[in-house]
């Protein structure tokens, strides 16, 4: 190993100790978005804001609303799976906890959307943390099976919950109370409300990924024993990321409930959960826009391709196989590497021109 700036072992240790004057790079909290990241973010946001103005029709606009609240829940899963490396197929169940919290509060106590919102997110976070407890003892596929069982159990519990959960027919909720005269019964306004929540979700995800906490999550994904060996309480951070993931799911779940104005157990079973896992794999779990892209693909593909439910399941299956084989980072990961290759070629071309 190179011997520059080294001293002989006999020199006193104080010679090496110097306190940092400026805050070193590793401590500087959240990394600022680069210009590229700002541009892409603004472009995507502008596109999503503009969408309703192109008169997409009721069918496409409601698909877009579904896409967005699903994407919000997926941002939680992307932190848990993409950053900390722990997959779950119980995420729809956690959405259900949020949705049912809101619906039960509305039916039992007459609370509206805005009062239930923090409670729904909190309870979802708690539920996710509790469901995550087995992950401290088992990992990988074994944990996935446990989350699968959680969903199955949740559906059984909700179906047998009598009038409290509305049994198999579920519960109805009223419209979201208007704010500043904006009525959310109107689909456009519901779309913008969901979009606002999505924007916050993406911003929070970006902040987490680019903070020291994000690196802590990576260390769990990359090498858990080593993470512990350098002083990281991996168990605590795993439960922590489950709770954060659960809060996102709760937000998605309550928006879904108030968009459908109704909630029923079959929305939150094992199959919807598998769809969420499918979306995150298709879209890509790590790039910032992976969850959004995954949600768009799965929600819009049957409509755009004219596929019936059976056909679309086959298409998803084939798509998943193709993505796993050809684009391990999902569609967004593929786009990202294509872009990077593009810019590299451009740099090379410019360099070449400069030399000639």
């Amino acid at each position: 190993m190179t011997n520059h700036n080294m001293q002989s072992p006999t020199q006193p240790v104080t010679a090496r100790v110097s306190l940092p004057e400026a805050k070193p790079r590793y401590m500087r909290g959240i990394k600022e978005p680069t210009r590229e990241e700002w541009c892409l973010g603004i472009l995507i946001l502008a596109g999503l804001i503009a969408f309703p103005f192109f008169d997409p029709g009721y069918r496409f606009l409601s698909l877009a609303v579904s896409t967005i609240f699903t994407a919000i829940a997926l941002y939680g899963l992307s932190l848990q799976f993409g950053q900390a490396g722990i997959m779950s197929v119980g995420h729809a169940g956690i959405m259900g906890v949020g949705g049912y919290t809101a619906a039960i509060l509305a039916n039992q106590l007459g609370l509206g959307f805005w009062e239930s919102l923090p409670l729904a997110m909190l309870l979802s976070a708690l539920a996710a943390a509790v469901v995550g407890l087995p992950s401290l003892r088992v990992g990988g596929q074994h944990y996935i099976i446990i989350t699968f069982c959680f969903c199955a159990l949740l559906v059984i519990a909700l179906t047998n919950g009598g009038t409290f959960t509305g049994a198999a027919t579920g519960l109805d909720v009223g419209p979201i109370p208007g704010v500043f005269g904006i009525r959310f019964a109107k689909l456009d306004n519901m779309y913008f409300l969901c979009l606002a929540a999505l924007t916050i979700s993406i911003a929070v995800t970006f902040a987490i990924v680019h903070s020291p906490y994000g690196r802590t999550l990576w260390s769990i994904r990359e090498n858990e024993p080593l993470a512990r060996a350098v002083g990281i309480n991996t168990n605590l951070h795993k439960i922590g990321v489950f709770a954060i993931s659960g809060a996102f799911a709760g937000l998605g779940g309550i928006l879904q409930t108030y968009y459908l104005r109704h909630i029923s157990p079959e929305l939150y079973g094992a199959f919807p959960s598998l769809y969420l896992a499918l979306m995150i794999m298709l879209g890509g779990a790590r790039p910032l826009y992976g969850p959004l892209i995954g949600s768009i693909i799965v929600n819009f593909l049957p409509e755009l391709g004219g596929l019936d439910p059976i056909d679309s399941r086959i298409a998803y299956g084939v798509g998943l196989l193709l993505v796993i084989l050809l684009l391990p980072g999902g569609v967004s990961g593929g786009l990202l590497s294509l872009y990077r290759r593009g810019t590299k070629t451009r740099h090379r071309l410019e360099k070449g021109r400069g030399l000639s």
Binding site: M1, R16, R25, E222, L226, G231, N233
Partner: protein, 239 residues
């Protein structure tokens, strides 16, 4: 001064007695080598000290505190840090992020930092300019350096190195020797396991020899290597 004391440490895996009541006292300012044939319990000793395995019996006293059975992360935070033989780094992320993780955790925060930034630490182990590379793409020798850097970033007061020289060529082993020799002067005790006797002989002021989970010799390298029991273990009964 004794900083790490192990009293009657025992670890049993089912029918296998991996550690059989080991007593060791390690100074905070020296380099102690743990040697022994394969399966003699060297790595199990490290794992049991560091909270990876719960000991069946015995105590680990670090810095006057009984840390027996503490979880690994808590032990690391008190300044006792280890490296792994195989899984040295966080392979999928950048070299700089690897070291930053160590910087952001571990260490008693009151202790003065030996390096002001992850970059300067990378320079110290000879990985300057490699910060943006993905750790998994480094050569084996550089991966070993990174593994040590990740542990150093946690600001240890004692470092347990598990076969840092395994798989290194002669040139890399020499560089490793120079690196390890600097640690005591920086206020870091070292305890290391390795099979490379050239390396061990060059850095260690003391050898501890294990065989079948029992300490059979403990002393200066010269004394230990002439010990009858040690020669029997390494060279056979008739040696």
């Amino acid at each position: 001064m004794t900083q790490l004391e192990i009293r009657g440490l025992a670890k049993r895996f089912g029918g296998v007695q991996a550690l059989n009541g080991i007593d060791i006292a390690i100074d905070g300012d020296g380099i102690t080598g743990v040697i022994g044939p394969n399966g003699s319990g060297k790595t199990t000793l490290f794992n049991t000290i560091m909270g990876v395995h719960k000991p069946t019996a015995g105590q680990v006293i670090w810095d006057g505190r009984d840390i027996t059975g503490w979880p690994a992360y808590r032990i690391a935070a008190t300044g006792l840090v280890r490296t792994y033989q195989q899984a040295m780094s966080f392979p999928g992320i950048s070299v700089l992020d690897n070291v930053s993780i160590g910087f952001e955790h571990g260490c008693d925060r009151a202790a003065p930092r030996r390096w002001t930034s992850p970059e300067s630490l990378l320079g110290f182990v000879g990985l300057d300019g490699r910060g943006d590379e993905i750790a998994g793409s480094l050569s084996f020798g550089n991966l070993r350096r990174l593994g040590i850097a990740v542990a150093l970033a946690a600001q240890p007061r004692m470092l347990l190195l598990d076969e840092p020289g395994a798989g290194l060529n002669d040139h890399e082993a020499l560089a490793l020797r120079d690196l390890i020799l600097q640690f005591p002067g920086m206020g870091m005790g070292v305890c290391l396991i390795d099979h490379d006797m050239a390396l061990m002989g060059a850095v260690c002021s003391r050898f501890i020899v294990l065989n079948f989970g029992t300490k059979i010799a403990d002393g200066t390298p010269a004394d230990v290597l002439q010990d009858r029991k040690v020669l029997e273990v390494y060279l056979g009964e008739d040696a």
